[in-house]
Symmetry: C2
Subunit: 185 residues, 2 copies
Amino acid sequence: MARKESITMQLILDTAFAMTRQEGFANVTARKVAAQAGCSTQPIFRVYKNMDELWDAVYDRAAAFFQDYYGLYPRMGKAPFVNLGMAYIAFAREEKHLFELLFASDQENRKSMYELLNGANGNVVSEINLAKAAGCPDPGDLFMKMWIFIHGAACMTLTGDYDLSEVQTLALLERSYEAFAAAHR
Amino acid sequence: MARKESITMQLILDTAFAMTRQEGFANVTARKVAAQAGCSTQPIFRVYKNMDELWDAVYDRAAAFFQDYYGLYPRMGKAPFVNLGMAYIAFAREEKHLFELLFASDQENRKSMYELLNGANGNVVSEINLAKAAGCPDPGDLFMKMWIFIHGAACMTLTGDYDLSEVQTLALLERSYEAFAAAHR
DNA sequence: TCAGTAAAATAACAAGTGTTATAAACCTGA
DNA sequence: TCAGGTTTATAACACTTGTTATTTTACTGA
């Protein structure tokens, strides 16, 4: 019937995502994706109506990527929220552009931070339950405080204003949790 | 000798700065500045060698603007760092684009966060001295923790993930200071 | 008054952008 | 084999960007 498809949606999304990881979506253009994928710009606009649709796809991919990243990140902290926070800060350091896309940009189609963190596995809910089980009277409030702190460290990483080692960060988060939790008693 | 200058450096910088305030420097183009200033693009490049130089000028102006903003911001907090933090967070809410330019972008010519905060008046140093006078054993460390927290809240306002009132924010910062300070004892 | 000179306006260039028209390539059912 | 239809490549369009010739304007010292 017709010519066989050689440039798949997969290939285009893979390429655009890889470029976003390396240089941010602001530097992803139709021609650059095409060059990287070894084709013309035509297949891109066959698969995605326009660049906005490609952005949506890259965004969803980044969200899934973060979920995987958290899933694979080693558990080193004992206090609630600390493991999630460690992964978050490491993600900011190692995946600057993805972090920006997901957590530090003000796009139209962006999900809320809570939605992204909680993901499909209910990461946040689990941690809040942990805090509740540990006897915290207001675990939601504690989460808010911890997350403001953690987000602050992550954002400072982006601009180079925070540069503590993993070990130091772990201690910082554990102690901050302790400080916030103590204030609740 | 020559024609009188009608488009001054002042006018161009004022215009570019006002536009940056409203829509961010990413949306400031030579033609748009010219249109706003009621002239052609030529005077811009007479005064500034290129757009990068204009960026530098706008950046310095923004830094000075933040200093003024802090100077005029009402003192409502008692604990060290709280007033500075309140102004910082309000600045993020009210001057989104300037905040981004100064504190949440990763440009080449950007100053460090500490430099910007401390300014010409030694704002940070004063606050650290206050904490020391209040008997804090490690005021530098306390500042770091407080500032991570404050920066987190400010960055969340940018993305709409933080939306507490001024009164609530004040209470949050005061209590956080207490929590961090208590952990130092 | 008028020549010289600096500033400003006009217009253009070269890149780079998203997107689309057109033409070539290629696969498959008949 | 070959006609129809889909995918792809090639070009092009329309637009925006920074930046720079070129020309016009207007001021001032003589």
